[in-house]
Amino acid sequence: MEYNQQLKNVLSEILNIDTSNFMHSTKLLGELSELDSMSIVLLLIEIEKRFSLEIDIADLEAKHFETFGNLASFIKNPLTV
């Protein structure tokens, strides 16, 4: 399945929201009330499982969650151990 669609599925499942209209510019952090600290942790855990990643948390920044596009790039790019 395509990366972006997979990511939309993860976001939809964890946050319990409709992500079908999400675009690269869709704002996440600070805009979605569902995106609190608990859901961020659960998202990161699920992202690691679904995309077979191990994220280097020293590189984690708020900007990675600012928009859907940023998050998608974060997963695709080698910010991994």
Binding site: M38, L44, A62
Partner: protein, 282 residues
């Protein structure tokens, strides 16, 4: 003081003047003055008094003496007010650590740690003292603009303070863990991360320490400061789990409930030093 309104600037300057005046005295005198001022404020604050007394009755249903309840309510307020002021002269404070050998090994290992703290006496003594021990402490705080001096207190003591109100604050804390940071989070206040029992009442609680332990795969500890009769502090540090917490909401809840059971025990041991006047049960 850029970006502050006039009243915020006045409040900020007033705080600095008050701290300056306090620092002209020795610590024992500062404590007497702070306790005196706190008693007056408490006497003039019926809502605070009522909340303190109600909270004490929740935690001590078997305590029949109204005098004892009232004594604890006002004394705890005094300890907390003095404790907040002590942040401004932490360099004058004497303290020792108390922890078992296994906990000491974790603290001195150099690895990342997630630590749950509580509002007991000078509650920022924990991150400040741990910073001196480890050199890599981060905490979380929502400092009002008029109390901008408080932020500089964290910086003065070498502690990185993440602004609680910023979007992505949790990510900033996780990032610090990734750099072998020691993250201290106050955890005895109301929160919406998880539900648990606290003195036999269901209530919401934060789960930051458990979530950080789970995601960053670090041990989980608790730490608290107790003011002694000789005005020194003992910083108690205890291991909740030397292994990371499981990665699920259920595991977070289980860990936080274990922490809260320990909080109950500590609060009942030092009831005159805990923050009873906070709106804890909602």
């Amino acid at each position: 003081m850029k970006g502050l309104t006039l009243s915020q600037r006045v409040a900020a300057k007033t705080i600095l003047v008050i701290i300056f005046l306090f620092k002209l005295r020795n610590r024992a005198t500062r404590k007497k003055i702070a306790f005196g001022i706190a008693r007056i404020i408490f006497a003039l604050s019926p809502k605070t008094r009522k909340r303190s007394i109600n909270n004490l009755r929740i935690a001590m249903p078997d305590q029949k003496s109204d005098d004892r309840i009232r004594y604890l309510a006002v004394t705890a307020y005094q300890y907390i007010v003095f404790g907040v002021l002590e942040n401004f002269w932490f360099e004058d404070i004497e303290y020792t650590f108390e922890m078992d050998a296994a906990t000491k090994a974790l603290i001195t290992s150099g690895g990342p740690l997630s630590i749950a703290t509580m509002h007991l006496s000078c509650y920022e003594a924990v991150p400040f003292a741990l910073q001196k021990l480890t050199g890599r402490v981060t905490t979380l705080s929502r400092v009002p603009k008029f109390a901008a001096g408080l932020h500089s207190v964290y910086a003065k003591n070498g502690v990185c303070c993440v602004d609680k109100s910023q979007a992505g604050a949790f990510l900033a804390l996780a990032g610090k863990m990734g750099s072998n940071g020691v993250v201290c989070l106050h955890s005895d206040h109301f929160g919406s991360d998880t539900e648990l029992d606290f003195f036999q009442l269901q209530t919401g609680a934060p789960a930051g320490p458990a979530m950080l332990s789970a995601y960053a795969k670090t041990p989980l500890l608790i730490a608290y400061a107790v003011l002694q009769k000789d005005n020194t502090y003992i910083i108690h540090i205890e291991t909740v789990s030397e292994f990371p917490i499981g990665q699920s909401p259920k595991a977070f809840q289980f860990a936080m409930q274990a922490i809260y059971r320990q909080f109950e025990s500590i609060i009942l041991q030092y009831p005159e030093q805990w923050c009873w006047f906070y709106k804890r049960w909602r």
